[in-house]
Symmetry: C2
Subunit: 154 residues, 2 copies
């Protein structure tokens, strides 16, 4: 019995099959977002804002450009988001002296303090997934590879 490959599937079935994989990804991403929404409400952060804070907690002061590289986001998304984080008081922005085009962001005192309060959150989320450590790692790796391939063919 031959192994079934993509080429053996008729177009008709494909409309259904692929509906499953991309949609599943889409749905899972939004489900995660929902869990984070409630988990982060106390901290006054949205999920994308939380991702930015994670990057800043880990790397300290960073130019907008590099934040975008870490998170796969462009200035069109980051500029207003950082402005909101600044309005909330978690982040400071300033023009780089070395390169006047560049703007760097860094956590304020309140932003750094927030890190302590956020420490418990990721564990609760990880437990909500019901996945083991290995499973998480494997899934993460597969998804990252997938992203790379998709970005390459875009």
């Amino acid at each position: 019995m031959e192994k079934k490959t993509l080429r053996d599937v008729p177009d008709e079935d494909f409309l259904r099959l692929e509906h499953q994989i991309c949609f599943s990804l889409h749905a899972a991403s939004r489900a995660f977002n929902g869990v984070y929404r409630t988990a982060l409400k106390d901290l006054g952060l949205t999920y994308p804002q939380y991702l930015v804070m994670l990057v800043l907690w880990e790397h300290g002061e960073l130019p907008v450009k590099q934040i975008g590289e870490h998170l796969r986001l462009d200035s069109g998304t980051l500029s207003p988001l950082l402005k909101r984080l600044e309005a909330t008081g978690y982040v400071e922005r300033r023009r780089s002296a070395a390169d006047e085009r560049s703007v760097t962001a860094r956590p304020t005192a309140a932003g750094s303090a927030l890190r302590e309060r956020a420490l418990g959150t990721p564990r609760r989320i990880a437990e909500a997934t019901g996945l083991t450590l290995e499973r998480i790692r494997a899934l993460r790796q597969e998804l990252d590879e997938l992203t790379t391939r998709l970005d390459a063919s875009a």
Copy 2:
């Protein structure tokens, strides 16, 4: 040697570890979206609009409510989306005679014709993922289970 579980990981590491799984999902979803964006441009559809058309092609006329159940979306998202699909001419909406609260949507002639033109798209997408059939199926199942667990704890 004991197997390492979630409980053995210190909070500190979690801020990094968890950054991986949910963010990977988030990024992969957006990468998919990007590939679809270019693939669907010719058809005049966005990716969520395409998902709605997939459902309507498969099930024919459906109440908004049931479309939402298939796609995990509520009326707040679907109402304007369906209005745009109606404006483009791919979908017709009408109040149900049996239940005046309900509104059903179905493909127009143009909407049905679009299906033929869309037949090739999913295969190209699936090939762009670089995944085998089994891998796609396994990934889909794992993501669906993940979504169920996340929704349950929200």
